[in-house]
């Protein structure tokens, strides 16, 4: 009896000790999570906070030493939206240029990518692997390395200051990713779907339009988002190929502010924030699909 009681006492003490170590470990774990979370948030938000801080400064107050906006003012945002500074006289034109280039790149990357993936993956065209390899090669060549010859070629074609020169370059670099993702995604759609439509007398074009594209909708969204963000993020080709004030895009106009350290930084940061809003909104709206797309077609920055 007594030994049993003693055993019970010992085990109770042991379990309470075990409980306290578990509790302590959980406490340390939570504290660690909290510390790391705070570090990550500060680290992530610092440059973004800096952008907001400077954009809220009234003009002339940029060159100060405080770390929060003393007299927050939306003057600079208003200045951007009304094109109220000589750096920004063509802001809406430039914004429209960015949008136009983004929309065209998205459209053509989706069109060419889906057509190519349909011919290779669904119709199994002979030598399709050659096209796949060409796409793979494009995917792993750094785009900036081709900028100089590309610029020369566009000069020879007389396409300087023409948005289509930029669109051509960006479509060439966005389509390979589209081809991968579409081919991967199409593997989940049974080929019998196409075959039965063909037996019913549908032409390849009809199969592509009526069956392939609707079934590919999730992949189209993922790749479309990717292509749009690629065009929105791109700077080098736009800088080289679009130099006139009316043909340039927002990133090129933004970079012009950097020509002197005495620039109106509040306007610059306000422009940078306004330019960042569409991609951030699109990213958060489609992030699940995008992440799925990223893991589907290998990876691309």
């Amino acid at each position: 009896m007594s030994t049993i009681a003693a055993d019970a006492r010992v085990s109770a003490r042991a379990s309470s000790r075990a409980h306290s170590t578990v509790r302590r470990r959980r406490y340390l774990n939570n504290a660690g999570t909290l510390v790391l979370s705070v570090v990550l948030v500060v680290w992530t938000l610092a440059p973004i906070y800096n952008m907001v801080l400077i954009s809220l400064e009234p003009e002339g107050d940029v060159f100060t030493d405080h770390i929060w906006p003393r007299v927050p003012s939306v003057e600079s945002f208003w200045g951007v939206l009304t094109q109220g500074h000589w750096y920004l006289e063509h802001f809406w034109r430039q914004f429209a240029n960015s949008l136009y280039i983004g929309a065209m790149v998205t459209f053509f990357a989706l069109l060419f990518g889906s057509l190519t993936s349909f011919a290779i993956g669904r119709m199994r065209i002979r030598h399709g692997w050659l096209v796949s390899n060409a796409a793979l090669l494009t995917y792993v060549i750094p785009a900036s390395f081709l900028a100089i010859p590309f610029y020369r070629i566009m000069q020879n074609y007389g396409l300087a200051n023409n948005p289509w020169s930029v669109i051509a370059a960006l479509v060439a670099f966005a389509t390979p990713y589209a081809i991968f993702v579409f081919q991967e995604y199409a593997r989940s759609i049974p080929i019998e779907v196409d075959e039965s439509a063909r037996i019913d007398g549908a032409s390849p074009l009809q199969v592509y339009l009526r069956i392939y594209l609707p079934l590919m909708a999730p992949a189209l969204v993922a790749v479309g988002t990717y292509a749009l963000l690629l065009a929105w993020n791109e700077y080098l080709y736009q800088f080289l190929l679009l130099s006139s004030k009316s043909s340039m895009t927002v990133p090129v106009a933004l970079a012009q502010f950097l020509s002197s350290d005495q620039s109106p930084w509040n306007y610059m940061m306000a422009t940078a924030i306004i330019y960042a809003l569409p991609p951030v909104a699109i990213y958060y709206a489609f992030r699940r699909r995008m992440t799925a797309g990223l893991t589907m077609g290998g990876v691309k920055g």
Binding site: T33, L40, T44, L45, P47, I48, N50, L53, I54, D65, H66, I67, L111, F112, G113, L115, T116, M123, R124, I125, R126, V131, A134, A135, L137, V140, I141, P142, S144, F145, L146, I148, P149, F150, Y151, R152, A169, V171, A172, T175, F180, E184, W232, N233, Y235, L236, L240, P251, L254, A255, M269, A272, Y275, P279, V280, Y283, L294, T295, K300, G301
Partner: protein, 310 residues
């Protein structure tokens, strides 16, 4: 091989029947597609082939031709700016890629924790990737301004320390570029690693836990071996993307002070457009080929075989 064999067999057996022979030959060219179908399939791939030839293959060939003179490389290698650029590029690659990928690997484990807080934190954490590069890099550039930058203002307000002019010193400016790159791209690679970790079947993790492989042991013996291939592909891809990265250097340090923080991608553009010597610019970029070509070959092999096995 198959095609040629079938054509050969056809030509031996059916010499007397050219019509059938012709059908077999055309069949071998077209694969299993019939006339009309084949025309459609060709029409579907032609747009991309044209884009590839005109805007990728042609610039590649043109670039190779532009940078084909040996004298260019003598001029290039003798340039002290080029010599420091090579050092910068190597440092940028070695630190930028590896620190970033290692952080991404660790942070992806952190973000595997359950709870709404982690989901919210992840949403904030991906912000650097979602915001356009130009916006964030110019913000970082101004943050590091010696007189009015946010970083020095914080240092002064909190610690009464006068910070240095971060971008006026070669090594600090290069460090700033590397940190800016890590800040910008760690979220993206963390998402990829996170997806890789999620793809590890739950049973494997549970079995490992029952067998006592938790914490560091679980990571070393279970998680990392399963992620190793993904980690390798990501590192290689990231190396090549970083080699072609123009924006971080161009906007954070601008290649300064005194052209001391250029990398090959920015030096190529500077040679071509600032000192108006396009061939020297192409030569600067081409001098990366001994690194690019093996990377491209390995990556093409890896990506072709493991496309989705993340």
């Amino acid at each position: 091989m198959m095609d040629r064999a079938s054509v050969d067999r056809a030509s031996v057996v059916d010499v007397a029947r050219p019509a059938i022979w012709r059908r077999t030959l055309s069949r071998s060219l077209r694969g299993n597609l019939h006339g009309g179908e084949y025309a459609w399939a060709v029409a579907f791939v032609v747009p991309y082939i044209v884009v590839f030839l005109a805007f990728v293959a042609y610039p590649v060939v043109y670039g190779l031709w532009m940078g084909s003179e040996a004298s260019l490389y003598r001029e290039l290698f003798a340039d002290p700016i080029y010599q420091s650029t090579v050092v910068n590029t190597v440092l940028y690659l070695a630190l930028g890629v590896n620190v970033k990928m290692f952080l991404a690997l660790l942070l992806s484990g952190f973000f595997m924790r359950p709870g709404w807080w982690m989901k919210l934190l992840l949403l904030i954490f991906v912000l650097p990737w979602a915001v356009p590069q130009i916006s964030t890099y110019i913000s970082i550039h101004w943050m590091l301004n010696g007189e009015w930058g946010f970083l020095n203002n914080v240092l002064y307000t909190l610690f009464h320390v006068e910070g240095p002019s971060w971008l006026n010193d070669r090594w600090m400016a290069l460090g700033a570029v590397i940190v800016a790159h890590i800040w910008k791209w760690t979220p993206f690679w963390t998402l990829i690693m996170l997806a890789g970790r999620m793809a590890i079947p739950l049973e494997i993790r549970d079995t490992a836990r029952v067998d006592g492989a938790t914490g560091l042991r679980g990571f070393v013996h279970i998680t990392f071996p399963l992620l190793a291939n993904l980690y390798l592909i990501c590192t290689l891809l990231s190396t090549i993307f970083l080699l072609g990265d123009f924006n971080a250097v161009n906007f954070v340090s601008g290649g300064g002070p005194a052209n001391s923080t250029h990398v090959l991608a920015t030096l190529g553009i500077r040679n071509a457009f600032e000192i108006a010597h396009p061939r020297l610019g192409v030569a600067a970029v081409m001098s990366a080929l001994p690194l690019v070509i093996p990377l491209v070959i390995v990556l093409m092999r890896k990506l072709r075989t493991t496309e989705v096995q993340l």
